[in-house]
């Protein structure tokens, strides 16, 4: 994303949470259908004890008052309308919810939303666009490294991290370091090939 100059952190109260959604939606990161319908997921009242978090998400500042029990995954999906990260287990066992915090991959289902206070979060919506795919996204298409596509956002986020961690130099390394992301459709051969294709481009970049 190219909005780095916009560094103003919005401090919002519960009543203003909707504005956060609006800010996020203007940044063009929402699923197309959400924009078309103009119905960014409505904030529901936060019921339990809440905490205030402010963060950078996909290059945009954001802040909200959120249920202290909420996971980062449920914050993204149910509050911010960022449905790219998927829930496949909610237990840290499948990798479908993988996102980056400060550039490192995490299982967002196992990360409390409260923990992203002051951090930078990147999701699948923040790495490329339809006109300018991230090299890893293009490589997944080129090698048909997906079938149903449900694990794919998590695989791509894990794959980018795998390269940046320096674990993509051999197919064996890739297989090992991508084994936290289950693909039940069995696209593993394509995933390894995709990472091999994208790794040099990402390293150069």
């Amino acid at each position: 994303m190219s909005d780095a100059h916009d560094s103003k952190i919005f401090e919002v109260t519960r009543r203003q949470v909707l504005e956060v959604g609006t800010i996020v939606s203007m940044s063009g990161m929402l699923p197309a259908a959400a924009q078309a319908q103009g119905s960014v997921s409505q904030p529901t009242p936060e019921n339990g004890a809440t905490v205030r978090v402010s963060f950078q998400i996909n290059g945009q500042p954001g802040a909200m008052e959120i249920d202290a029990r909420a996971s980062l995954l449920d914050m993204l999906r149910e509050r911010l309308g960022l449905a790219g990260a998927k829930k496949g287990c909610d237990h840290g066992q499948c990798g479908a919810c993988t996102v980056h915090i400060d550039g490192r991959r995490v299982a967002s289902c196992l990360t409390l939303a409260a923990k992203v206070d002051g951090r930078t979060v990147t999701t699948i919506e923040g790495i490329g666009s339809a006109d300018a795919l991230h090299p890893m996204q293009q490589a997944f298409i080129d090698h048909d490294a997906l079938q149903c596509g449900y694990c794919t956002p998590g695989q791509i986020m894990a794959a980018i991290a795998c390269v940046k961690e320096g674990h993509a130099s051999t197919p064996e390394d890739i297989r090992e370091y991508m084994s936290g992301n289950i693909c039940r459709c069995g696209a593993y051969v394509g995933i390894v090939a995709a990472i091999q294709q994208a790794a040099p481009q990402i390293e150069r970049g």
Binding site: N47, D90, A130, L146, Q147, C148, G190
Partner: protein, 726 residues
Amino acid sequence: MTQEPTADRPRIDAYEKVLGRALYAADQPITGLLHAMTVPATIAKGRIEAIDATAAQKVPGVVRVFTYEDFSQIKTTPAARGAYGQPGKGHQPMTSPVVRHRGEAVALVVAETLEAAIEGAEAIKVRYASGPFSARMEDELASPEAEPDRQLSSGDAQAAFAAANHRIDVEYLHPQQHHNPIELISTTAAFEDGELRIYEGTQAASAFAGGLAGMMGMDPTRLRGVSPYTGGGFGQKNGIQEQSVLVASAAALLRRPVKLVMPRGQLFHTASYRPRSRHRIRLGADEQGRLLAGLYETVQQNSRYDGFACDHGANPPRMYGYRTWQGSDRIVRVDTQTPGHQRAPHEHPSSYATECAMDELAEAVGMDPVEFRLANDTQNDPITGKPFSSRHLAGCLMRGAEMFDWNRRRREPGALVADNGGLIGLGVACGSYKGSMTAAVTTLRLFASGRCEIATSGHEMGQGIRSVIAAELIEILDVDPTKLEIRIGDTGHAPQHITAGSWGTGSVAPAARSAAMKMREELSALTGAPLSEEPVHVQLARTRRLSLEVTVNTIPLGKDGQVIEQLRRGIPSTTGPEYPEFMAFSWIAHFAEVHVETSTGRVRVKRVVSVADCGRVMNRRTAESQVRGGVVWGIGAALREAGETDPRFGGVLNNDLAEYVVPVNADIGTIDVDFIGEPDFKLNMSGVKGLGEVAMVGAAAAVVNAVYNATGRRIRHLPIRIEDLL
């Protein structure tokens, strides 16, 4: 008839998927959404005596707690849960105080946030009166059915077996398995535009109108099933789920949209699964290795209350030229939820048993397993005597053997040793899957601008069905794929069939193709001349029309117009494998190379080669992926997966992805795929047979046979684990 060579195009919906923009059921942005959570039963059988919801109701944010008392108006009809097209009494949890299997929902908590719903569900207290039960077919109260589901025979197999020079008599055990698509099963119900919309990742969007409407006493036309993307189905999403009607009823009672994403741990107890089965197989051959007799008896678990037939005997007699055959399949009733179709539902377990038995018999006869299979090849079905519409199994075996370098195999187990001292084993096995089709209703609209819209029957769950539709439209109309909109999996656009049984491509390809051909006809009628080489939309523009629309009902071979009505009502109606003039199957041969570490017993599958005869290949790239996926499933079945039922409590002990182990990236080596690519125009105008399931059939057996070749151990249960080889 034209025969397009296998096209290699990017999967047409890959962009949406890599951008994270494909919206699955639980991703739909819906205003004012409430969140639900279920409370699972902690007994396997009995009655609810009391439910205390006081604490739950006090949890901030909880809107309502539902129990069976709120849902007694829900009707359980034979069609209610889809029942997989088979007659069944059915059991819908939460419509009475009766509990019929562990883990079924006993309460549904609806709240403003997911966190509140979960806390509320955890605060519910339930008192039960539990009764005696058996959850496994080996246990005391399990009830074998008196009559077999199916008996196929030809000739006097008993006598032929008794007289055979070489005989084997073995029993194979297949465990319970769980589909575990990565998309969690979920239901979102919302009243929108005067209709009840059910957003659920499904292979059967019409099942909502067909089944749910009846359960809720609603007009079926007011229910719309929406599932444009399903995050993997594998058969687990081919009917209404246990929670579907509960969520829909909650939304109706609250007049608010409600979403429930089922926790994976609960799905092991509420969704379908592949039932445990036992397979006794006796095979006899003469000195030359000709198959004289096959006797095959199987038993399989089922729930107490639904139809899910034991059908293991359907394919094995069709694999080779058996002189005589006798088979019987029987079910045993236990106290669990109803099992169902899981990728290659019976073909996988039966191919595992019979293809391993073939390996044993080849050994007994002293023949190479590939030679042995080739020597028993047939072009006619031994049971009905009918010819196959097409069968290139010998071609699959020969091409695969060459790609795999099968000749390096040594008959002596453990003869090949890797550099690190591991034992190398090579194995082969074959598979088949019926060639099926179902009806479709297709509307195709061409715009003068070049835009093209198609709405048809079928669901995308990873098999690449959109790419198949696009391939036919591109071939016949040369439309621009970037201007193509494909609407599937939504009863608001077209009636939807259950997309399963590998009939998706065989149904949608002819549907798209015939709609495209009708478009050419109509356009030429409109222009008053045969179509030129110019793009079709340019020719349309010249008529000064903005758009042209055609609608086509496709009726599969051997059926009549009634199937369209059945399709509209969500009733499954499919053909195959038997047609008036022939039997239709897809075929495959798998070759597996395993390395077994002698000190640890660890098995690695280094390489698999699979060659399939699935008729015409619609998209080489997605087809290869589908076969690789099937092989991964075969490897998972051979070495990893088993649901462990606790006989004391009736639940699955390993009910999560850490304990129910499925293959991960590090488990998978090289998988090389090839296709025979001969179209089968006897079956349909597109020349396609199915691929998604045959891809898996025989793959596990190839791995097991390779383990034998490495170690000399015949392991007759799955999965093969380290302790079996130490």
